[in-house]
Amino acid sequence: MKKLPNKDLRRKIVDMVVTGGDGHIPSAFSIIDIVTLLYKKILKFDAKNPGWLDRDYFILSKGHGCLALYVNLHRHGFITDDDIAMFCKNGGILGEHPDRTKVPGAEASTGSLGHGLGFGVGIALGLKIQNLNNKVFVLVGDGECQEGTVWESANVACNRKLGNLCVIVDWNQSGMQLMPYDDMPKKWEAFGWNVYIVDGHSEGEILEVLNKINFSSNGIPTVIVANTIKGKGVPILEGHGIWHHRIPNPQEYLQIMEVLR
């Protein structure tokens, strides 16, 4: 059995939810390995200057997974210990969805599904117009892909040859609860995108694919369909049950932390 990566960040997410009294743990665990890899190995950024013009853009379109973003912004120095401690507290900057006007490093205020990709398409188009080489990454949920605006945006990105854009789909089968026919790769292929399928909890697989993308500003956009498990890493959290938006009680907290030791 593979060793679970990012146990420390998973523990921090659980602590934030318990301290803040709110949050979506399984949604964050579903994407934590992807987001962590992006910040560790792929994205160009300057935490001391979040608006640095040469940065790459990461847009978390499924905003309810924001804890995965917050712990990475904290790890890399965008936000402080105090910010983390004030998660969901009056006077803090971190809520249950990211707010770009408050959170250094958050490129988009998301939460209403179906906005992040169009916003990323606009940024990618803007960079192309300005002959800039920054890369744009947008992480969307598979349930979010039921929103029509996702496909409006996908259509534009292909037709405008936004090769500087990479979408990652958190394919944790949430969408299939409502619509069981859900051939995610085929949908993106039909919209003319380069499609890769990876294990979304394997740093090696994700990195290998990311290194294949040439990010040409006049090429075909790329989608990485990441097979993920909602709540990945802690058996009681995994799947699509009551844990979507639940706070662990003291006994459950100990049980979760034992698994994440």
């Binding site: 006007t101 209403s112 606009g122 803007g126 409006e152 259509n155 534009v156």
Partner: protein, 325 residues
């Protein structure tokens, strides 16, 4: 409801053959052509409309013009993304598809994000009179006023659009330009048009008539008619709905104590509501709104016939004055 009162002198600004020789919408295209070459940040997105008129801009600024597709909400989100990348988006298509269908995109992608942009809509109120409710939009002021910081203007002549756009397009806010399909026919000079400032078109002492958009013409006609009965009307023209020039409104109404607001917007949430809120405490105030009733306008016919159906006529204003004096 007032009796039908055909106003055949109304001038369409859609075909360019106006008394002022240019439609407001043609001026939009011309202003883009001029400013687009001066300001390399301007990017125009259209939703499969206006591309013929915008051809000169598109040819001069080919890398900053996109007939982006028939996907209005996403056009707005893309515009917000362009703004986030440092560019100045100008988005253009039919009003209801931008303001009503795209309302959440305006709210979240521009306003919540605090990103600037310019929305140029065509088909105000029921300019597309025969196309039915799908193409009508007469609640846009009300909707947009719920988005903090959003600017709204209603240019009803070419010079107004040109001046208002130049003065506001890069002021770091979301600005909506509701292009009127018909003009009021009144000739303003460049210096008359100041974003956020109302214009006293005619001084008077007995009643204030506040008009926006093409309805300035109705106000002028009514003023002529009631003057025969010895009633002197002061006419205030409002091209900027938000921020509204409360000072010019209050000063006039404190003098006349009587105000009639005439506009092509639903009664609820229109200019009339803002005027009433600004002067509710004026002693002895009399107020009337000549506007679109709070219901769907489902009849067909010309723009003028729909105005008649709604009672937006000079005859309505005359009737009110006859009751008041």
């Amino acid at each position: 409801m007032a009796s039908p009162n055909s106003e055949s002198s109304r001038v369409s600004t859609n075909n360019g053959s106006t008394s002022m020789n240019k439609s407001t919408r043609q001026q939009f295209a011309d202003t883009m052509f001029v400013l687009g070459q001066l300001d390399k940040n301007i990017v125009v997105l259209v939703g499969d409309i206006g591309h013929g008129m915008l051809r000169p801009y598109a040819e001069a600024c080919s890398d900053r013009y996109y007939n982006i597709g028939i996907l209005e909400p996403t056009m707005l989100t893309i515009g917000a993304g362009l703004a986030a990348s440092g560019l100045c988006p100008v988005m253009h298509t039919i009003t209801p598809f931008m303001i009503e269908r795209g309302f959440e995109q305006l709210k979240l992608d521009f306003c919540y994000h605090q990103l600037p942009g310019n929305i140029v809509t065509v088909g105000s109120a029921f300019d597309y009179s025969n196309l039915g409710c799908t193409h009508h939009c007469y609640g846009d002021f009300a909707l947009l006023k719920t988005l903090p910081g959003t600017e709204i203007c209603f240019p009803a002549s070419a010079i107004e659009f040109d001046q208002l756009f130049r003065q506001s397009y890069k002021n770091n806010k979301l600005t909506v330009y509701r292009i009127a399909g018909y003009s009021h026919g009144y000739e303003f000079k460049n210096k008359d048009i100041v974003f956020g400032k109302g214009i006293c078109v005619k001084e008077g002492k007995d009643v204030t008539i506040i008009a926006t958009g093409p309805q300035l013409q109705t106000a002028l006609e009514a003023s002529d008619k009631i003057s025969n009965n010895g009633i002197s009307a002061e006419i205030i023209y409002i091209h900027t709905i938000s921020p509204l020039d409360l000072a010019i409104i209050r000063t006039s109404i404190e003098k006349t104590k009587k105000v009639i607001v005439v506009e092509e917007h639903m009664r609820s949430g229109g200019l009339g509501d803002d005027v009433l809120r600004a002067v509710y405490d004026v002693p002895g105030l009399k107020f009337h709104s000549v506007s679109i009733p709070d219901k769907f306008v489902t009849c067909y016919g010309t723009y003028e016939q729909l105005l008649d159906f709604c009672g937006i006529t000079s005859a309505s204003i005359v009737e009110i004055c006859e009751l008041w004096f």
